[in-house]
């Protein structure tokens, strides 16, 4: 009896490989491949959900993958975002729809699915590359100078981060003799307990992991490529990068970095506290993201910087965890992190797609395009308003609850300053979010008149807004789910 997760992996793999064959069929409506991918993604989500409800062993994958709730949540989030992107692409790729485009999306989804469950550093790296390589092509899919420039920059930085990760993996393997994450953690603990000379190398390995994953997680100072890539890539692809592959960076961070961090906490290594490293990274990331967002003139860049700031909030959970993995604060913090990952995928996905629709229909990306949008594209404007308010953490929207959990987890004597900084950042961020809302509803459009809002976008918007408000009003289920997922790493 084959389990549902293996089935989902197989379905996605088959879809990725077979979709390009549709290219051979001449004179067909290429949107067909988009519909196929959407159906495959939806069924894969159902399969993953069923699997997460009753996890079982994965005999086909040995010790490479383990089906836990943490993987389930990340798999659902990343597949869900890919589904949103696929549906939106049905409109943006209309007429020029290309089976290869959807095949690449499918490969990315497969990579993220495998990554979510990876238990072995080599498996993790393979999944990482499977996810990243197609996105380099997708970022340049527009065949415009801007798009190609973004793709090249993204590919170079991406290759560099892969190299760094690989170097870190080889160090870890050299030190512990295994690529199995749990074995690496044990090996690190032994090294630290024995106070051997190799502890310095171990610390180097950890910092290399931070840097390698940090590029995808968009942590300052590894964030420079983000605004350029998001701005140049087709907006649907930017949505994928911001709302999905970034989450993959976080699952890798949780699975590897936090697991290894426990080795440091257990041995109480005084020279090297990961909590402080994460705290500084979180503070710098959210502050740089928010301050830079304030001065942006283009919507995609603004959302890119806001996305960087949100990564800083997610890191707060890492701080609480690495300060003391056994404490209640760690549990609340990791739950908040996972919850914020879910929320951020929804909020940022909706915001990017709304911005993408505006760019597609009005053919401009500067903030002026949003003047008077409330009259011209009411559904898009409303979606964007809800998403931006949720990003700012205004209650009772979903973003408020995850931020509340995150802030609660560090409201203690040691990291109270981080909670204060995060809350002030949150208040500050409303400045630029409200600025966009002001443009949409208060400023006058220079070219009035309704603009068409295509059906699939409206469907995606309705689902996203419904979830943002629904989770906001009744967060208990989402908190339970995140908490179950966080339990995986808390051990």
């Amino acid at each position: 009896m084959i389990d549902f997760l293996t089935l989902a992996i197989g379905t996605l793999a088959g879809c990725s490989l077979l979709l390009p064959l549709l290219q051979l069929v001449k004179g067909r409506d290429w949107n067909l491949s988009g519909y196929i991918l959407a159906a495959v993604l939806a069924s894969a989500m159902v399969m993953v959900a069923v699997f997460t409800l009753s996890p079982s062993d994965l005999p086909w994958f040995g010790s490479l993958l383990r089906g836990d709730a943490l993987g389930g949540v990340f798999a659902l989030v990343t597949l869900g975002v890919t589904l949103m992107v696929t549906l939106a692409s049905l409109e943006t790729q209309k007429g020029e729809g290309n089976p290869v485009y959807y095949s690449l999306l499918s490969f990315t989804a497969l990579g993220m699915l495998l990554l979510s469950y990876s238990q072995d550093l080599l498996m993790l790296f393979v999944a990482w590359e499977l996810m990243s390589l197609p996105t380099y092509v997708l970022a340049g899919f527009d065949k415009k100078l801007r798009s190609n420039e973004a793709a090249v920059k993204y590919a170079v930085i991406g290759a560099m981060s892969s190299a760094i990760i690989l170097y870190a993996i080889s160090l870890a393997y050299g030190l512990t003799g295994s690529t199995q994450i749990s074995a690496v953690v044990q090996g690190f603990s032994r090294l630290l307990a024995a106070q051997s000379d190799a502890t310095a190398l171990a610390s180097v390995a950890i910092l290399l992991f931070v840097a390698g994953f940090g590029f995808k997680m968009s942590i300052v100072p590894f964030h420079m490529w983000i605004p350029d890539a998001y701005e140049g890539a087709p907006t649907t692809v930017s949505t994928l990068l911001a709302a999905a592959t970034k989450k993959a960076g976080f699952i890798a961070g949780i699975r590897v970095l936090l697991a290894i961090t426990t080795a440091y906490v257990v041995t109480q290594n005084p020279a090297f506290t990961m909590a402080n490293v994460f705290a500084v990274l979180a503070l710098v990331t959210m502050t740089v993201g928010n301050v830079s967002a304030l001065t942006q003139k283009s919507m995609t860049r603004l959302l890119a910087y806001s996305s960087i700031a949100q990564a800083g909030y997610i890191l707060i959970g890492f701080v609480a965890f690495s300060a003391d993995p056994q404490s209640a604060s760690a549990s609340i913090g990791m739950t908040g992190s996972v919850f914020h990952v879910i929320n951020h995928a929804l909020m940022k996905g909706a915001a990017f797609l709304a911005a993408g629709l505006v760019i597609m229909q009005l053919r401009r990306a500067d903030l002026g395009a949003f003047d008077g949008l409330g009259r011209r594209m009411p559904i898009t404007a409303f979606t964007l308003t809800v998403a931006l308010l949720a990003l700012a953490g205004v209650p009772p929207l979903s973003g408020f609850w995850s931020k509340l959990l995150l802030f609660l987890s560090v409201s203690n004597a040691q990291f109270g300053w981080l909670a204060l900084a995060a809350i002030l950042n949150s208040a500050f961020s409303l400045g630029y979010y409200a600025w966009i809302i002001k443009r949409m509803y208060i400023d006058e459009a220079d070219a009035p008149g309704r603009v068409k809002e295509p059906l699939w976008f409206v469907v995606v918007f309705a689902v996203a807004v419904g979830l943002i408000i629904g989770i906001g009003l009744f967060p208990q289920q989402a908190i339970n789910l995140s908490s179950a997922a966080a339990a995986g790493i808390l051990g």
Partner: protein, 493 residues
């Protein structure tokens, strides 16, 4: 288990989309629908006011309580927890009343984007009802923030020439203030032996060492809303730019959130720290009273003058509330509650009048308004009456409220007797305004229309309760007594 308070919150919240579609289909029907719906809320609020008056809840307890589990995770327990007492019920009533009046006034003064306008009014009303009834700090904070969103759009979309600036300033100021307040709540929560966000659990039980920082944090949140000088700078901008019915809600309802917060949370949860620094709060209130009055003298714009009057009057609330913590005289807190009620009606009527005057005469500049007495006799008569109410002249209830507050102030520190000068200055600038605008000779032959009889009659709804209340003050003061006794007991024993 009662569900009256939920009705107060959810009739408007669920009515908001209905009002949108009703007004979209037919403007006239939409306004009738909105009036009907808000009247229904008013009747419910009147029922609550009556319930609390006829059997005032004992000290530290609440009537019409509702409680159901909402979120439960680790040590984070949040309940949907509502209740009303002598502090909240007058505010619920006056908020519902002013909403009806604002909708009535809007039918002539608002003529763009009406469906959205009426929907947002109900969103605002529902959130306000939530603020005044929540007994859970996080629930309170959520409603508190929701209030901002409609107000941002009111000022920004329907406001005057500088509306864009004013709306952004408003939302950034108040949001920054309230996030700091939230941090204070989290601090208390995590510091408590048995963590709780429930106001009845916390009242009188927060250890004194845990009170100082949250008192400061909540002070920032509430001082922005009240507003207290020097946190007031958003208010004149917001008021001048907001359309008049919204100014009514802004002054009559939104500012009360600040006063309510000071009483319910700053004093109610952090009483010992409050009592220690009561003199400082009284001084801040006194400074606001003088500053507001003095600034009002200098204003040429009628509406801006009324806005500064609000700062002056809300200073009384803070001053009175903290006077009780010094002297133990219950008059202070009772007077503060009464003052919030009276100020809502008096200033509400003035803001609405300024809207009519602007609409009919085309200007609000006091030096340009000449001879209203002859050109717009009905408007002028109401302006004189409303000014008298704002000045605190008997037989308007504002007289009694200010009297109580000043008396409590003197019993605390006799030097605060200087506060008696504030009503004098207030009377001075109102009389000066009346002399210039009403009693002067009309200029030019421009045709000016007086307001209709139906509009004039609507002002009776503002002013008559003020006259009635000076006789029937017990309706507000009796239920306010246990609240004042409770706050006094937990603060100074």
């Amino acid at each position: 288990m009662s569900f009256v308070l939920s009705l107060l919150i959810f009739i408007p919240l669920l009515g908001a989309p209905l009002a949108y579609f009703a007004t979209r289909m037919n403007r006239r029907n939409g306004i009738y629908f909105s009036l009907g719906l808000s009247t229904l809320v008013l009747l419910t609020a009147a029922y609550v006011l009556w319930g609390v008056y006829s059997s005032p809840p004992p000290q530290g307890q609440y009537l019409f309580q509702e409680r159901s589990a909402w979120i439960n995770f680790r040590f984070l327990g949040l309940d949907y927890y509502l209740g009303a007492d002598g502090l909240s019920s007058p505010l619920l009533f006056v908020s519902a009343l002013l909403t009806v009046l604002a909708i009535f006034g809007s039918r002539k003064l608002i003529d763009t984007h009406e469906p959205e306008y009426y929907a947002l009014i109900f969103l605002f009303e529902g959130a306000i009802m939530g603020v005044f009834t929540s007994l859970n700090l996080i629930l309170f904070y959520i409603f508190w923030e929701v209030v901002l969103i409609p107000m941002f759009f009111f000022i920004g979309v329907w406001g005057g020439p500088r509306r864009k600036y004013a709306s952004l300033k408003f939302i950034i100021f108040t949001y920054a203030g309230s996030t700091i307040m939230l941090l204070g709540f989290l601090y208390v929560y995590l510091g408590m032996q048995t963590p709780s966000f429930d106001i009845p659990d916390l009242a009188g039980n927060v250890p004194v060492s845990l009170q100082y920082l949250p008192l400061l944090a909540s002070f920032i949140g509430f001082a922005v809303k009240l507003p207290l000088v020097p946190f007031h700078t958003w208010l004149p901008d917001a008021h001048v730019e907001a359309p008049s019915p919204i100014s009514v809600l802004l002054a009559g309802v939104l500012l009360k959130m600040g006063g309510y917060g000071f009483l319910r949370i700053s004093i109610g949860l952090f009483p010992l720290a409050s009592a220690q620094f009561a003199w400082l709060f009284m001084a801040a209130g006194l400074f606001s009273m003088f500053y507001g009055a003095a600034a009002a003298v200098l204003q040429k714009d009628l509406k801006k003058m009324i806005a500064f009057t609000s700062i002056n009057h809300m200073g009384f609330v803070l001053f009175g509330a903290y006077a009780t913590l010094v002297s133990g005289s219950l008059l202070g807190i009772q007077g503060a509650i009464f003052q919030m009620f009276a100020h809502a009606l008096a200033v509400g009527s003035l803001f609405m009048l300024s809207g009519y005057i602007h609409h009919q005469a085309g200007t609000r500049e006091i030096p340009l308004l000449k001879g209203l007495g002859t050109s717009m006799p009905r408007t002028a008569a109401i302006l004189v009456l409303a000014s008298a109410a704002a000045m605190g002249l008997p037989p308007f209830a504002s007289f009694l409220a200010e009297f109580m507050v000043i008396a409590a102030g003197i019993s605390a520190y006799s030097v605060t007797a200087v506060s008696i000068l504030v009503p004098v200055i207030t009377a001075g600038y109102f009389l000066w305004m009346i002399r210039r605008a009403v009693l002067s000779q009309p200029e030019g032959s421009a045709e000016v229309h007086d307001m209709g009889w139906s509009d004039a009659a609507s002002f009776a709804v503002y002013l008559v309760p003020l006259v009635v209340l000076i006789v029937a003050s017990y309706v507000v003061l009796t239920p306010a007594l246990p609240v004042a006794e409770f706050l006094k007991r937990i603060a100074i024993g």
